[in-house]
Symmetry: C2
């Protein structure tokens, strides 16, 4: 996909002007990638009417020149935030927006000291994050492929899932297949959690072997062409009891209700409530210990949050996850998660793997 | 390895008392793991004379109870730093150390507001990082195994390295073999950079195919039993020219000089200078665009920094990398990196892979 990074920078500049800021300092990797294409791990971007400058250290300057167009690259000497402050001082920067959520207290102090008394930092977090919420057709095309790829990986490892195999053998195979399929890597540490461990929503895979009559939660995502996917399926090893089937159906219904609630104009809180209400009706609400979903894009967790009372309204091009779950301590957990793109009158489910209980 | 987390907490408490602090807030994952064994991805630890409390959200409370001993677990309601501030207010916490490098400006404001006017936050960064610098015999044993494993993985993929193979096929195989070998994962995104791309010190593996007469830099590390290893080797596809051999020998000598300088009592700046001087003598100093090394342990980059003018003195049990390199834009790069444990009269090189130029 050819990305018009300059167009994105112009959109950010318009936001700057609306807030009467002269400059914006971008200190979060996904944000500077979004605005320039630079994939280096260290740097800071200064965006202003006169152009964009990327400060980075010697490890990344060649890479930065290759990856970006139409911006100035400055090699920093000394610590990044000292160099950034000195740069802002040199260009006589006035009111400068920065993201308080992407700057540590220590870096902030270094920056402020180096920038001098005349410089004025203004909290302006979320400008780039809000632009990133709306995916254009090129981004959606990549995200569709990322969602399809992770589904294919899941289906290809299903045959591995049986009693005796270790959780971390399955996760190793999953991440290997992701890369074989063209992913640059997993979008987060793959979760394979079996038996009572499946009741831990964020369990890391261990050397534990799968056993008969256990639930297995698999939560996996790829990074493909810089964009993330994220899906969860739950498998039962054997014939599930009526109780487990009841839980599964409740989660399935909650996921369905969550997806059905997604359309432009609806608040994220409403989507969360749609899924949560179903679990409440089944008396499972206290076992649903997290929120219904999150934004997805360059990062696996990004804006908007799909959680209780979130007032952000969905708009066409947003991509979110819908992932209700129930977690019964000591017994096991069930989660079903899909990636969903928001459309005007509804949604497009990007995840293409069926959601029925898989009994192996 | 059985870890005496309580002993570590007592060591941290002694540091608190020396600074006349009542409490220490720990907001960095590697630090709370070090003090408690909790591996969850979100939380905050409050350490004081009356005991230790871990605040975390519903996704992690069961896991926290399973992983820790002798500490209190509190389930946070609402945002983490608001909950943390409210907790500090409730316990009437006085002077409380926090780490300005592990707290964003936004989280700091939330925390301070919730903690109320009577609470006093005191910058006290680095307390746990400094404890972590000294590895005990149990930690060193694990780190030895982590260094050996990554060496074995490197040697097992050497047969794959030949013209026509893609960089990302090699990195996929490397990370698969890491997991097969028992690693929980790579300690950073594996670098396989060939030809002119090897001149980018932090290149990500791409679909580029290896070609004859190219340099290939492979930089890889595992996480094994929570601890990281990190090694780099450089391979030449074909018969290297005299020029390339000259560069390689210079880097080899620089690595040797760096390792030879390592012993208790020496400053990190001296170690950096030892390696840098060798490259200077060869007229290659301007192509050595980064520092000589970094501390290694629970994190792949931790204290101490082995860089120009760093005054930190090495002590027995510290583990650092020694990784000089030269990077010739448009041509290629060479880096050799070993993990080295500091001893009283010298050092122990943990990386067990030979360092001669490999021509394939």
């Amino acid at each position: 996909m050819t990305v018009d990074f300059a167009k994105r920078r112009r959109a950010a500049l318009r936001q700057l002007r609306r807030r009467k800021l002269d400059y914006l300092v971008v200190t979060h990797g996904a944000n500077w990638y979004y605005l320039t294409g630079f994939t280096g791990e260290s740097g800071a971007l200064v965006l202003g009417n006169m152009g964009t400058t990327l400060l980075t250290d010697g490890r990344f300057t060649t890479q930065a020149r290759e990856e970006t167009h139409g911006i100035k690259i400055e090699t920093q000497h000394g610590p990044l935030y000292k160099a950034l402050g000195e740069y802002l001082k040199r260009i006589n920067a006035g009111a400068t927006g920065f993201d308080a959520a992407a700057l540590t207290v220590a870096d902030w102090k270094t920056l402020r000291t180096a920038a001098g008394a005349k410089w004025r930092g203004v909290e302006a977090g979320g400008i780039v994050e809000r632009l990133r919420m709306t995916k254009d057709s090129g981004e959606l095309a990549v995200m569709r492929r990322a969602a399809v790829l992770v589904g294919e990986v899941f289906e290809s490892v299903l045959k591995l899932i049986k009693p005796g195999v270790r959780e971390n053998e399955i996760s190793a195979e999953i991440e290997y297949q992701m890369r074989k399929g063209g992913a640059s890597g997993p979008s987060f540490e793959t979760i394979v959690a079996s038996g009572p461990r499946s009741a831990l929503p964020h369990a890391r895979p261990t050397a534990k072997r799968l056993r008969k009559n256990e639930l297995v939660v698999l939560d996996l995502g790829v990074i493909l062409g810089h964009y993330c996917s994220d899906m969860t399926r739950t498998v039962y090893l054997g014939r599930a009891s009526q109780r487990v089937r009841g839980w599964y159906r409740a989660v399935q219904d909650a996921r369905q209700a969550g997806v059905a609630a997604v359309k432009a104009g609806v608040t994220c809180g409403d989507v969360d409530a749609a899924a949560r209400t179903v679990l409440k009706k089944h008396g499972l609400e206290t076992w649903f210990v997290h929120s219904t979903g999150h934004g997805l894009g360059l990062e696996v967790h990004e804006e908007p949050r799909v959680a209780r009372d979130q007032a952000t309204r969905l708009a066409p091009g947003y991509v979110i996850t819908i992932e209700p779950g129930v977690y019964v301590e000591g017994v096991g957990g069930i989660r079903i998660e899909d990636d969903v793109a928001v459309r005007t009158g509804g949604s497009e489910v990007l995840t293409r793997v069926k959601r029925d209980l898989i009994e192996i």
